[in-house]
Every structure is written in C-alpha cells, then in structure tokens.
C-alpha cells in the first residue's frame, strides 16, 4: 500500500462520519414513525393507568418533538453516552456488552466452519466441473439455500437431544457448569446450522468466480508454461477469483455482528439478534439505536476493510 492509498483511506474514514450521521437520522426517524411507542407494552398489564404512562413518557423525554429527541440522543451518543434501556432500566452499554460475546462466539464459529467448508468445496466443484463432486455439491448447496432453518433446527434438536441424548438442545452453557467442553457441546448445533446457509452461498460464489477465472487466457498460458496443476489453481486462479468472494464474505460478516435472529431464538442463544427483537417489540429506542448503529458501523467498517484487502489481494487495484 502506498501513500496515495493512505490519503484515500483518510478521506474514506472522514467521509464515513457524515454517512453515519445520515444513517442515524434515517434510523431515528423510521423508529419513531413505526406505530407504537416504548410505553405501549406496559399497557398490556391490567391496572396500569393512562396517567402513569403519560408520566413515564414525560420522564423519558418522549413527549418532546422527534427532532429535539434526536439532537439530545446525538449529543449524548458522541460523548459515548448511550443512555438507559427503557425495558431493563440498565445502561444500554451494559445490556449490549453482555450480548456481543455470545453473538461473536456463535457467528465467529459458524463463519469459520463455513469458510473452511465453502472455499475448498467451491474450488473442487469448479475444477472438476460436471463431475459427480460438482453435482453433489450443487445439489447440497441448493438444499442448504432453501432449507428453512427453523425446520432443520427442530429436526436436529429432536435427533441429538431427545433421541440420542448426545447434545443439549438449546442454551449457551449448562447452569452451574460453563466448562470448555460444556460450551463446545452447546455451540455445535446452532453453529453448524448457521454455517450451512453461509457455506452454500459462499461455495456457489467461489465456484462461479473460479470458473470465470479458469476460462481466462493467462491460465491457459500458465498451463502451457508447464506449471503444475496445483500452482495454476492456487497461485494464479484462486487469488483473482477470491476478490468478488471477499466482498460477499465481508458483507455477511458485517451482518453477523447484528446477530442471527432465528437461530438465536430457536437455540435460546443470548445474542444481539434476540436483544434486537425484544427491543423492537418493546420499542426500546435507546437500545434499538445502539444496536442499529453498531450494525451500520460494522457495515461501513467492513466495506472499508474490503477495499484495503483488495489492494493486497490484487495489486492492480490502486486508489486515487
């Protein structure tokens, strides 16, 4: 990476500040436009009066116009103050901090599994196009794409937990245990299921991208030079083929930070996805804004990171 690249990076980082502010305005607006507010869930409790809820709104500053609320939120947010959750009464930072490790653990494991499966399978499938391996992989990846996660999860839970008693059906740790083995036993099912969808998608991308590259002239030249098959595929073809695949993987990674809502719900996994759903149902604005901004930040950040990685993988890419 040279100095022009650095200038470019500095510009990009500075440029993402107004971008994030813009995103936050839109998010804040959309959240407030959605029907219902934070005090509405309490109305489900018999015996809660309208006056109590009005008082609650006033105390939370929800009686102020939305732009005023936004400015207050932004002012606090830039000072690193994310406020208090309306539902739990605790600091938003505390609530979120508790959920991030669980999500990263599940997402990261699934990510690694998927990566280890998808790339070799994609390469193999492309190199031996129209072979049995290719057909089997193609068939399985379509199964992986189209299989409803909740159904597969139910089947595996009932097989591994009810029939065979091999693995726990849900949760992150056994209460009172929490040893390494115990955690591994808990993560196997959710991580495998989450990995399956990623694996199918990335594998297909790798395959398609490899096929494109393998048809190019320079590969033929490399082969004609008498280079070994492995060198051609891994040194010449794969490096170029990976560029578009990286984009997809990076964007999926950014999405992973926000949590896998369905998997987390089915496996009672205490991650960000479930926090988001609960906060959404309760219209817990401070938590929602924090979660959405983390998601946006991850997306912007990963885009930037992808650009940097590009310049490493493909030296032809220069940023002016």
């Amino acid at each position: 990476m040279n100095s022009t690249n650095f200038t470019f990076l500095a510009r990009r980082i500075l440029g993402s500040v107004p971008l994030l502010i813009g995103i936050s305005i839109i998010l804040f607006g959309v959240l407030n436009l959605a029907p219902g507010g934070p005090t509405d869930v309490y109305a489900e409790i018999p015996g809660v009066s309208a006056e109590t809820l009005e008082n609650l709104k006033r105390e939370l500053g929800l009686d102020q116009p939305v732009p005023v609320q936004y400015v207050r939120w932004l002012g606090a947010a830039v000072r690193g103050e994310w406020g208090y959750s309306i539902r739990t009464g605790r600091r938003v930072a505390t609530d979120v901090k508790e959920r991030i490790p669980a999500t990263l653990l599940l997402g990261g494991t699934a990510f690694l599994l998927a990566l280890l499966g998808a790339i070799p399978l994609g390469i193999m499938s492309a190199v031996r196009r129209y072979s049995t391996v290719d057909y089997v992989f193609t068939f399985l990846s379509f199964v992986g794409f189209s299989m409803p996660i909740f159904w597969l999860a139910l089947m595996l839970q009932s097989l591994f937990a009810v029939q065979w008693h091999l693995l726990p059906s849900a949760g992150m740790v056994s209460i009172g245990d929490g040893s390494f083995v115990d955690r591994v036993r808990h993560i196997i099912l959710p991580a495998s299921i989450l990995a399956l969808a990623y694996m199918a998608s990335w594998g297909r991308f790798t395959r398609a991208s490899m096929l494109d590259v393998l048809g190019l002239d320079y590969i033929r030249t490399a082969k004609a030079k008498g280079l070994g098959n492995g060198t051609v595929i891994y040194r010449h073809a794969l490096r170029n083929a990976l560029v578009p695949v990286l984009t997809v993987i990076a964007l999926d990674f950014a999405g992973m930070i926000s949590g896998a809502i369905i998997t987390e719900t089915i496996f009672a996994w205490p991650g960000m996805g479930r926090l988001f759903i609960e906060s959404m149902n309760g219209r817990d604005y401070p938590v929602l804004m924090a979660l959405l901004m983390i998601g946006s930040l991850a997306l912007v950040g990963m885009n930037l990171l992808t650009d940097i990685i590009y310049s490493f993988v493909d030296p032809r890419i220069r940023y002016e």
Binding site: A34, P35, G36, G37, P38, T39, D40, V41, Y42, A43, E44, I45, P46, G47, V48, S49, A50, T52, L53, N55, L56, E59, L60, Y84, R87, T88, G89, R90, D95, E98, R99, A102, F150, L154, Q157, S158, A161, V162, H165, P168, S169, A170, G171, M172, V173, I175, T265, I266, F267, A268, P270, G271, R274, L275, E278, M280, N281, G282, R283
Partner: protein, 535 residues
Amino acid sequence: MRSPRRHLLKLAWSLCVLVLLGGIAAAQERGGTLTVALNYDLDTLDPYASGFLTDVQATFLAGLVAPDHNAQYVPVLVTEVPTLENGGIVLTDDGTKMVVTYHLRPGLKWADGAPLTSADIKFTWDAIRDPAYLGPEKNGSAEIDSIETPDDLTAVVYYNTVFGGFKASLFTYGLLPKHVLEGKDLNKDPFWDAPFGAGPFMVTEFKRGQYVVVERNPYYFEVDANGVQLPYLDSIVFKIIPDSNTQSTQLKSGEVDFAYNVPFTVAPTLENVAGLRVLRAETLGFRHITFNLRNELLNDLSVRKAFAHGVDRAAINKALGGYMVPTNTFVVSIFPYSSDNVPSYEYNPELARQILLDAGYAPDRDGIMAKDGKRLSFDIMTQAGRVEYELAQQVVIAEMKAIGIELKTDNKSGAAYSQARREGDFDVWYSGWITPADPIDSYISFYGTGGFNNGGAYSNPEVDAALNAAAASLDPVDVQFYMGEAQNIVLTDLPAIPLFEAPSIIVMTERLQGFESNPTNQTNFRHTSGWWLAK
C-alpha cells in the same frame, strides 16, 4: 382399672400414628432443583417495572396477601386478610373512604436476616408512588392518603375512597426492603441484579437472555404441618426459552421440568410422553371478539348480532385441540358473580343471514352482504406470531364468509399491536384478556366509557354506573347484583362477543408434587414454598 390389653392397643395406635406421620414427613422430600422454562426474555426483576407477569418475582417477593388457587385472597405476611367482618376494614366519612389495618406475623425477616416491620409497608408505598420512580405498575398507590405505623407489626392504611380492588395491587406483588433501598434510585439500583424480599426464595444469579437462579431463603417464615421449614426445594432455575418448539424439545429431553402457557397446538405432542404430566389449569383468562364501534357498519347492532350467531365456538375449539371452555359472558365462572342469566347467541348461520337480510342488507356479486353500496368487509386484527390466535382468526374468517361478512387479516405485534388495540386502530379484534383476582377495575377499563383498554369505544352510562357501583362495594351481595346487571347490558349491546374461558396448559415432570396452579395474574409461582420433588 387399666387392662394391659388396652395399653397394648394404645401402644399399637401410637405406633400406627407415628408410622403414618413418619410416612408423610418422609414423603415430602426436602431438596432438589426444579428447572422451569420461561417463554419470554425477562426484562427486569422489578415487578413494578416489568412488562411481563411476575412469574420469577413471585418466588422471591412476598406480599401482605395473595390469591390462592381459587382466586380467593389468603394471608401471607399478615395474620389475616382484612375484611369488614373482622374489623380490618372500617368505612369512614359516611362510607366514602376506608381504613384498612394490617397485622404482620411476628418475627418476620428479610432474606438477609434483617427484621421486617410495618415501616417496610409504608416504604413500599412511598417508593412506588414516587413520581420519580418510573415503574408503570402503580395501581393502588394513588388511592392511599397516608399510612400510619403505630407499632412494628401494625400498618393502618387510609384510603381516599372505597377501593374494592385494594388487595389486587401494590402490597400483593411484594414488599420491598426499606433498609436496603431507602434513599436509592429504584429505577437503576443494582439491587435488581440479584434482588431479594421475604419470599421463599432469593435470586442468586440473573444472566440476561439465559436464566435466573433462585435459591432457598434461609429466613423464610413458613413451616409445614410437621414443623419442617419451607420451601422444600433448594432452588428453582428459570431458563429463558422463547421458542415454544424448543421448549417442547427440552421437556422431552428432560432439560426442563416445567413449562406453562404451552400453546394448544404444541400440547398434544406432549400428552403421552413418559415422565411428563399435562395439566389444564383454570385461569382468569377469556377469549373474545371485540368490535370497533367507531366503524359505521359495526355500530349497527344487527351486524354484531349476525356476527354472534355466525361464530361457531365448537369449530374454533376443535381447531385448537379442544382445550377451551365455551362461555357466554366476560366474567369467568370461577367468580361467584359470573352470570348465566345473560342473552346468549347460539350458533345459527341461517338466523345470522336472516338478521342481515331483515336489516336491509343483500348479497352482492361476491356473496358479501351490502347496503347502500357499503359492503360488510372488515379488517380483523390479532397478535401476530401467536399461533393460537392466528388459527382461531382463520376459523372466524371462514365462518363469517359463510354468512356474507368479509374479514381480512391485519395482524400486528409488540408495541404496534398494543397501541392499535387501545387506540382503536382495528375493525374487529380477536384476542384474550386475563384479569387480576379482583377483576372489576379491569372490566371498567374494557367496557367503561373512555376505559383505558376500551379500544372499541363502547359507551353505555348504565354499564358505567353498574360497574362503578360494583367496584365501590365491599358487600358480595351488592357486587353480585351490580355485576349481573353489567353483564346483562353488555351482552345485550354486544360491543364484544365472549367466546371461551381459556385454560393454561402446564406440562411438568411427574416428580413434582404439591403443585397448585394459580388462575390469577399473580402467576403459578405465587405459592412455590410447598412444591417438592419426589426422588
């Protein structure tokens, strides 16, 4: 003169009695952990601030009184439930105000060993009514003018009105410890990470999104008939499992021992699982169809009557596994003033069509009844994602189509749903209510003019008068009379069609003994001290 034989007989008797007593004592095993599935992501352990019912809180907090399995109030921390007869309630100011006197049991202690006194009663009221405290469940605090504590065991509560529902709120959820919380910010205090009260258990761990562990409170006051200190269980673990299918899997695999509010659609798969018991527990819940009377067409009584005659309760119940009990009124039958003497509308689609034809409606090309170019086509709302409601909704839609009324689904969830049902952003609404053990204030909010939960905008001054009279009366005969009147008028006006009394399906391990379900919103966990696990 005493014969040796009589001596022997006596001895044999004593032995028998001893063996029997011993048998009972040995039968109730002390110890063990019960794992309970909690089907929601618990927000906070503060019962006054939580958006959910107080399942977990009921195990560690104790109130002055609590409803039992028949929704009758029994004393908890006090020696008796105050009534007019026992002098616990005294009417003053020509019967417009009341004074309630509570006598605490002597020797009560908090779970940390500190003494519990009448000052804690006053503190709980002061803490909850404080406008700076944001917990929304302040019901029953505004009606109190002042509390006097002449001695450590006595609290005299002065009400500014005759408040029939005084038992249903505030002091029933549980007292808060003054010596720990005084001067603290109750909204944010770390006390709520591992709170305790005077209940049978105390919280030792709360992992958000995962579980809550409550363990035996060593200072709990209750003892059983043999002098054994309660609770029997060492601990209860509440595992947070939001997905009902996963919950059922965990019951089958033995990872949880107890689940409640199991959906009617899931319950049949658990009926014949070895080691599990499926219980239909009575609740104070009922299902209903409610109309929005702001809608010009629904404001027509004949349309609502046609609706009522067109609904086949049996068909809905069948689709839902047959667990529910059809009803004609909104007061569930466990209450003595539930009335049989209300207008009932038997299922009769022919009659339903005839009512519409008589009212001047005629079927259009699609078979939908219309008058003056206005078709009987409405949105029907229910809570999205709640399988039972959504299934029932589909049956209702089919039944209404048969009599010429078109219904289109318009389902919402969370805060959006809550707002829509209260502010009347629906035409027809299928849902359920569950009331406290003193339900009259709830009925006022459902059917009273401008009521907080009266999203259909029903208004009838006669109903208001009857319900208010019932709420302000402490005499069961008067309550019965006024409530009979209120039910009669509401069912004549038909702002809503009560459909079913809905049980709660509880699935538990066969080893759990001493369990009694609780039909009220004080939850099944209000009396956990007597639960025990057979080996």
